[in-house]
Symmetry: C2
């Protein structure tokens, strides 16, 4: 993990709409959701959603996969893990078990 990248990733979820999108996808699991489905669930206009999806995607926090006419977006759990690990890295000077930094294990890496 690199500082600038971490800032980019944090910026990408430091927004009401994008945080909602990201959490929705984190909860949706590996298959993710189609853009239209996200737009509907969160009541975000298409063009606005597209802008936000691009931000998240560019930051590497979500992945896009085209399937027929739909584009499925899903959370990138590995990236999320790296980011959270960066935040808690060497927590409390490594003393104590202050930070038992283990979070999300990618469930299947095909």
């Amino acid at each position: 993990m690199n500082h600038t990248l971490a800032v980019t990733q944090l910026s990408s979820i430091a927004n009401e709409a994008r945080l909602a999108i990201f959490r929705l996808l984190v909860q949706a699991g590996v298959n993710g959701l189609a853009a239209g489905s996200i737009s509907e669930k969160l009541a975000i206009p298409n063009s606005t959603l597209s802008f936000h999806l691009k931000e998240l995607s560019h930051a590497g926090l979500i992945n896009a996969q085209q399937q027929s006419r739909y584009i499925y977006y899903s959370a990138n759990y590995e990236t999320m893990n790296s980011l959270l690990a960066y935040l808690t890295e060497n927590c409390c000077a490594g003393e104590q078990d202050c930070c038992t930094t283990t979070i999300c294990n990618t469930q299947n890496e095909e």
Copy 2:
């Protein structure tokens, strides 16, 4: 944890200077560091640092404690934990052990 608060907290660390400050304090442990010490270590001008410390403080991610002429800033581990937990909440629809969400235990709550 509430959505708006999470956005505020993420925004507060979604900045190069503030992320550096926050990580420095996370690593410094419960005693924290005086403002002048942070300014020196990170080469950030006083007025700029003060602005950033206020942002982090306002978001609840760091605490301030005056001690004589110095003001010591320290990471608020509980807030950090809540935030990270919010991000990974109900990860992968609760199936699998995809997200073993446990992170940082506050080391001493006096």
